[in-house]
C-alpha cells in the first residue's frame, strides 16, 4: 500500500476495484482493524481509529468466506454482536428479528450454517453485520463464491439494502461489472496505488490511465506511431469497443469522426453481439463490439479477412496516461 488517500462519503456505496494482490483487501482490513498501517490515519466520522483494536471500531465486516460460527444457529450468529456488546433482552430480540426478516431468514433461524445453501449463508453474514447498525459496512468480495445467477440477484439486493438503510458500504471486488452496477463511486487500484476515483460512468467513459482503461471494460489502447497516424497526436488514446462502428473500406468519415483502415483478423460470435478484432494498417489492433441487429451468425463469420474502415466519434477517444506519465500523474493527484 503506497500513498492511498481515499475519502468515502456517508451513506455511499463505495467500491475498491482491482486485480488480486492490488491491495484492496489489505485496505479493507486496515479499516476493519485486522491490520495496522505503518503510517497514516484512518478517520471514521472525525475520529482517528488507526491503532484502535477492531472491537472498538464502529464498522462491521462481511467476510469472503462468510466466517459464520459453525456451532451457533442462524439466530445465535446474528445475535452475537449485540450479545457481546451487552445489549439487553427486548431490544436485542427486536433487532435480531428485524435483521432476519430483512434478509428473509426468519424461517431458518434455528438452522446451523452447515445446513444452509451458499446464498442463505451469504444473507446470514449480511444480517449478522447490519444488525449492529455500524457506521460503515465493509464487504470483502462477498459474492465471490456464488454462481452467476445468484450473484446478479444478490447485487440488486445488496444495493437496495444499502439504500434502505442509508448505510455506508465499502465493497471490495475484482469484478468490474459488479463494481460498475452497484457503486455510487469506485476507486480502481493497482499495485497498492489508487489509479482513479470516480463514479462508474466517469471511470468507464474517461479512464485516467492505461491500466484503468484496460481493467474496466475491454482494453483498446492506441499509442506511439499508430496514435500519431490516426489522430495526428502523439498522445496515447483509448476507445471503448462498443463506440466503434465497422464500415466499408471506401466509406468517408463524418467531420467529427476519426477513422482507421484495417483487416478483420478474428470474429467471435457471442449471440447478442459480435466481437471483431481488427489489425490496423497504422499498427496495433482494436476490438470492436457490434450488436447483431440484422446479421446472422453466418453473415458475421464471413467478415474474417475483409478490409474494413473503423469509425468513432472524436469525443469517444480519450487521452490516457501511459506508464511513463504515471509518476507525474500521481504527484498532481
Amino acid at each position: 500500500m503506497d500513498g492511498v488517500n481515499l475519502e468515502v462519503r456517508g451513506g455511499e456505496f463505495f467500491s475498491l476495484l482491482g486485480p488480486s494482490g492490488c491491495g484492496k483487501t489489505t485496505c479493507l482490513r486496515m479499516i476493519a482493524g485486522f491490520e495496522e498501517p505503518t503510517a497514516g490515519r484512518i478517520v471514521l466520522h472525525g475520529r482517528n481509529v488507526a491503532g484502535l483494536p477492531a472491537y472498538e471500531r464502529d464498522v462491521n465486516t462481511v467476510f469472503q468466506d462468510y466466517a459464520l460460527f459453525p456451532h451457533m444457529s442462524v439466530r445465535e450468529n446474528v445475535e452475537y454482536g449485540l450479545l457481546v456488546k451487552g445489549i439487553g433482552g427486548a431490544e436485542r430480540r427486536r433487532r435480531v428479528m428485524d435483521a432476519l426478516r430483512m434478509m428473509r431468514l426468519d424461517r431458518f433461524d434455528r438452522r446451523k450454517p452447515g445446513e444452509l445453501s451458499g446464498g442463505q449463508r451469504q444473507r446470514v453474514a449480511l444480517a449478522r453485520a447490519i444488525v449492529n447498525q455500524p457506521r460503515v459496512l465493509l464487504l470483502d468480495e462477498p459474492l465471490g463464491a456464488l454462481d452467476l445467477k445468484l450473484r446478479q440477484t444478490m447485487q440488486i439486493e445488496l444495493k437496495s439494502i444499502q439504500e434502505r438503510l442509508s448505510m455506508t458500504f465499502i465493497y471490495v471486488t475484482h469484478d468490474q461489472e459488479e463494481a460498475l452496477t452497484m457503486s455510487d463511486r469506485l476507486a480502481v487500484m493497482n499495485q497498492g496505488k489508487v489509479e482513479q476515483v470516480g463514479s462508474p460512468a466517469e471511470v468507464y467513459e474517461r479512464p485516467a490511465t492505461g491500466f484503468v482503461a484496460g481493467f474496466v471494460g475491454a482494453s483498446n489502447v492506441l499509442s506511439g506511431e499508430a496514435a500519431l497516424t490516426i489522430t495526428g497526436q502523439r498522445h496515447a488514446i483509448t476507445v471503448r469497443p462498443e463506440k466503434i462502428r465497422l464500415g466499408r473500406a471506401d466509406e468517408r468519415p463524418e467531420a467529427d469522426e476519426v477513422s482507421a483502415l484495417g483487416v478483420v483478423r478474428d470474429v467471435v460470435y457471442v449471440g447478442a453481439f459480435t466481437r471483431y478484432v481488427v489489425d490496423l494498417e497504422a499498427g496495433g489492433e482494436l476490438v470492436v463490439l457490434e450488436q447483431n441487429l440484422t446479421m446472422s451468425s453466418m453473415d458475421v463469420l464471413q467478415a474474417r479477412g475483409r478490409q474494413v474502415r473503423l469509425f468513432w466519434n472524436r469525443q469517444h477517444s480519450r487521452a490516457i496516461a501511459t506508464a511513463g506519465d504515471d509518476q507525474k500523474k500521481e504527484e498532481v493527484g
Binding site: A32, F34, F69, G81, V84
Partner: protein, 310 residues
C-alpha cells in the same frame, strides 16, 4: 529411444491374455459389480478383529464375573451368581479404591486440559512454523521412550533423597515429601498423559479458520469473550477426545501406583487377583467397574454434544 512406427494397413492386436490376467480381470469385474464384496474386503479383517477379539473378550469378561472361586480348593466354579458383586459392594475397601482411582483420574484429566490448552493454543495459533515444529516435537519426544523409563525417572526426581529435594536443599528451601504419595501420582500421571491431551487439542485449535476469530472481534468481542464463546466451543470435541485419553489411561493404570504411589488402584487389585490369588471371576467383576465408569463418561461427553462437531 528408438520407436518403430506402424506400417500402413498394419493393425494393433493385443496378445492373447494369460490365465493370470484373465483371473485379475474377472476379479476386477466382480468387485466392480458387487459393492458389498468391496466393502467386505475393506472392512472384513477389521470387523473380525473388533468383534471376535475385542468385543468377544469383553463379553467373556462380563460372563466370567458371574462365576466364583471355590474358597477351599481355589478352583473356578462355573455357576452363575452375584457373589463377586455382593462382595464388591459389601467390602468398603473396594469402594474406597474405586473412588480413589476415579478421583485421581479426574484430577489428572482436569490438570492436563488446563496445561494443554495454552500450550496447544500457542503452538497452533501464535508460534512461527519453526517454533511450532519444535514444540510439537518436544511434546511427542517423550513418547519415544519407554513408559517404565519415564516413571522411573520421576521416581528419582521425587524420592526423599531425589533430584527435587536435593535442588531445594541447595537453595536452602527445606524439603518436600512428595515421594510416593497421591500427590506424586497426580504429578506423574499428568506428565505421562499430557501429550495425548495436547495433540488432539492442538489439532482442534489449528483447524479453526482465522476469519472466525476476526469476525468475533469485528462484532465487538474482546479476546477473552472470543475465546469463551467461539474458540472453546469449536475446540470442545478435541478437548473431550484428549480428556478421554487422560481419564481412561489413568483409570486403567497399575504400574505407576506401584512405583511412585503409596496406594492401590483398581488395576492393582485386579492384578493381584489374577496373578496371585487366581480369583479370575472376582477380578472380572472388579474390571467391570472402570468399564462402567468409562461408559458413563462417554455418555456425558455425548450429552455435551462433543461428538456432534466431529
Amino acid at each position: 529411444m528408438a520407436q518403430r512406427l506402424m506400417r500402413p494397413g498394419e493393425r494393433l492386436t493385443a496378445p492373447p491374455p494369460s490365465a493370470v490376467r484373465r483371473l485379475r480381470h474377472r476379479i476386477g469385474v466382480f468387485l466392480h459389480q458387487v459393492p458389498a464384496a468391496r466393502l467386505a474386503l475393506l472392512l472384513g479383517p477389521v470387523l473380525l478383529w473388533m468383534i471376535v477379539i475385542y468385543l468377544g473378550s469383553l463379553a467373556l469378561l462380563f460372563l466370567t464375573s458371574f462365576w466364583r472361586q471355590d474358597p477351599v480348593t481355589g478352583a473356578i466354579v462355573q455357576d452363575w451368581g452375584l457373589t463377586n458383586y455382593q462382595f464388591l459392594v459389601g467390602e468398603s475397601v473396594y469402594r474406597i479404591i474405586a473412588i480413589r482411582t476415579v478421583g485421581i483420574a479426574v484430577a489428572v484429566t482436569v490438570t492436563d486440559i488446563a496445561l494443554a490448552i495454552p500450550i496447544a493454543y500457542y503452538a497452533a495459533r501464535i508460534a512461527s512454523p519453526r517454533v511450532r515444529t519444535l514444540l510439537l516435537l518436544s511434546m511427542v519426544l517423550p513418547l519415544w521412550s519407554s513408559y517404565l523409563v519415564r516413571v522411573y525417572a520421576w521416581r528419582t526426581i521425587l524420592s526423599g533423597d531425589g533430584v527435587l529435594n536435593w535442588s531445594l536443599h541447595q537453595l536452602h528451601l527445606g524439603s518436600v515429601n512428595l515421594g510416593f504419595s497421591r500427590w506424586s501420582l497426580w504429578i506423574v500421571f499428568s506428565y505421562l498423559w499430557l501429550p495425548y491431551v495436547t495433540l488432539p487439542v492442538y489439532a482442534a485449535l489449528e483447524r479453526i479458520p482465522n476469519s472466525l476469530i476476526e469476525a468475533s472481534t469485528d462484532l465487538g468481542a474482546r479476546w477473552i469473550t472470543t475465546f469463551r464463546r467461539v474458540i472453546l466451543p469449536i475446540a470442545l470435541p478435541g478437548i473431550i477426545a484428549g480428556s478421554i485419553f487422560a481419564f481412561s489411561l489413568t483409570i486403567g493404570d497399575y504400574i505407576a501406583p506401584d512405583l511412585v504411589g503409596d496406594t492401590e488402584f483398581i488395576g492393582n487389585v485386579i492384578y493381584q487377583n489374577v496373578g496371585i490369588q487366581n480369583d479370575i471371576p472376582f477380578a472380572a467383576a472388579y474390571a467391570i467397574v472402570p468399564a462402567l465408569v468409562m461408559a458413563v463418561y462417554l455418555l456425558i461427553a455425548r450429552q455435551l454434544k462433543a461428538f456432534e462437531a466431529l
